[in-house]
């Protein structure tokens, strides 16, 4: 991988992705064996939004590589509260750390921040934009469960604001996949993502119900419908129950269906599914560590 920064899934070629996943598999096999890879290296965590998995897995990853983290801490206790621009903040941080992981609520923030620093900048989620390292761990999980070619994947839920969806959809165009998007009309894929998928010649179909496509799926990627995005509570109530799954829902699914979710979930997946072999979302979250180890190892 020859990139200076990881900003969007669109920048990743099939070769890039496979290189990361292969390296991740090595680390996954023996996570404790990599402590001599990057001793003394520091990763700065600049998280302007709450995060559990992404932040902790980055922290674990750099420590597993022999490095350490510095953490900007909560925004309310930082110079951001004094009115410091993001551009200035990252320029200060690059003097302290060897790489920066940035989570920010505004789209395009990682692209902009990367223009102001020379150390690698990793987009850990920019508003409703992109979340490329999540996508790499999603792909790692899919490769382990179903392979990355000749698969049919359904992506269901909030496709409009779901940055993990946007990144994943882009990345899947590198492989022989059939993508089905299932959502309420109000939360369909945004115009820019559909534009890219069309430009890439991706095999894409959109649906307003899971029923019609479930039997064909090898992978079902569920995301949370974000109630807070709906301007009208009544509109939310119309769609909420239609985009959840339980054991009964899965009766028409293939036995080998892999069920994924970037987490956190609220009520999209009934906890009774957790005990099925199909449920992969906790393993998916755990894969964040070896995958982010691989990314950091290749950039530092």
């Amino acid at each position: 991988m020859r990139h200076d920064h990881i900003i969007t899934a669109k920048q990743l070629s099939r070769e890039d992705i496979e290189a990361v996943l292969d390296r991740a598999a090595e680390f996954d096999a023996d996570p404790g064996a990599a402590l001599d890879r990057h001793p003394g290296k520091l990763l700065a965590l600049a998280f302007y939004e709450p995060s559990t998995r992404t932040k902790m897995s980055f922290e674990t990853a750099i420590k597993r590589l022999g490095g350490d983290v510095i953490d900007m801490g909560p925004v309310e206790y930082s110079s951001v509260k004094k009115g410091e621009s993001l551009a200035d903040t990252v320029r200060v941080i690059e003097g302290y750390a060897d790489a920066i992981a940035l989570r920010h609520p505004m789209e395009g923030s990682a692209t902009m921040a990367s223009q102001f620093v020379d150390v690698p900048l990793l987009n850990a989620g920019d508003g409703a934009g992109q979340h490329p390292t999540q996508t790499l761990l999603d792909l790692y999980t899919i490769r382990e469960q179903a392979g990355l070619d000749d698969i049919t994947i359904g992506i269901m839920g909030d496709l409009k604001y779901g940055r993990t969806v946007h990144s994943l959809a882009h990345a899947l165009t590198n492989f022989d996949t059939r993508q089905h998007f299932i959502s309420p009309e109000s939360l369909k894929l945004p115009r820019n993502v559909r534009y890219d998928l069309h430009e890439e010649g991706a095999q894409v179909r959109e649906h307003d119900s899971l029923d019609e496509i479930l039997p064909e799926l090898d992978v079902l990627y569920v995301t949370r419908i974000q109630r807070e995005r709906f301007p009208d509570e009544n509109e939310y109530q119309k769609v909420a129950g239609q985009f959840t799954i339980d054991v009964e829902t899965l009766e028409s699914a293939d036995d080998d269906l892999t069920i994924m979710h970037p987490l956190p979930r609220v009520d999209e997946i009934d906890p009774a599914i957790d005990d099925l072999d199909n449920a992969t979302y906790f393993e998916q979250a755990h894969n964040g560590v070896p995958v982010r180890m691989a990314i950091l190892d290749m950039l530092l």
Binding site: L86, M106, T111, M112, D126, N192
Partner: protein
């Protein structure tokens, strides 16, 4: 009525720019792009929806004492792809060029996405990739296809 006839409806200028073959009805947007609102004292002549052999209807803008910058021409190309720009010196056309769509436009359009980082007061210019049928923010990916002129920075 020929294009030459219709051009005579608007007086000749001594020095400046004539923007011809502007899409009918877009002349006022052209003035907005080049930052002319009358307060600068320039002499401006505008023909709106005049008959044209080539376009059916077209607009013409003549600006005395002013030549367009390349960035102005770039944005102009987005709303008036058929426009021709004539530089006038001593009543003669000394340069004539057709506009060309650039690969990107910088600093002239605002991103309509309120959650785009370019609307957050950060020290960056907006940057839009020019698509075949619109433009796309290079920060947040938002695509604008309609009403481009509404997004020109004031």
């Amino acid at each position: 009525m020929t294009d030459i006839d219709t051009e005579l409806r608007v007086s000749k200028i001594q020095n400046g720019t004539v923007i011809d073959h502007v899409t009918g009805g877009e002349a006022l947007h052209v003035l907005s792009i080049i930052g002319i609102d009358g307060s600068g004292g320039e002499t401006v002549s505008v023909g709106i929806n005049v008959p044209s052999d080539r376009l059916g209807r077209k607009d013409i803008v003549k600006v005395e004492g002013r030549e367009l910058s390349q960035s102005e021409v770039d944005v102009l190309s987005l709303i008036a792809p058929d426009a021709t720009i004539n530089i006038i010196r001593e009543y003669e056309v000394t340069e004539k060029q057709c506009v060309e769509r650039p690969e990107e436009v910088t600093g002239v359009l605002e991103c309509p996405n309120p959650n785009c980082i370019t609307n957050a007061g950060e020290p960056v210019d907006t940057r839009f990739e020019v698509l075949s049928d619109g433009v796309r923010c290079e920060y947040c990916d938002t695509i604008i296809r309609e009403d481009l002129t509404e997004h020109i920075k004031s």
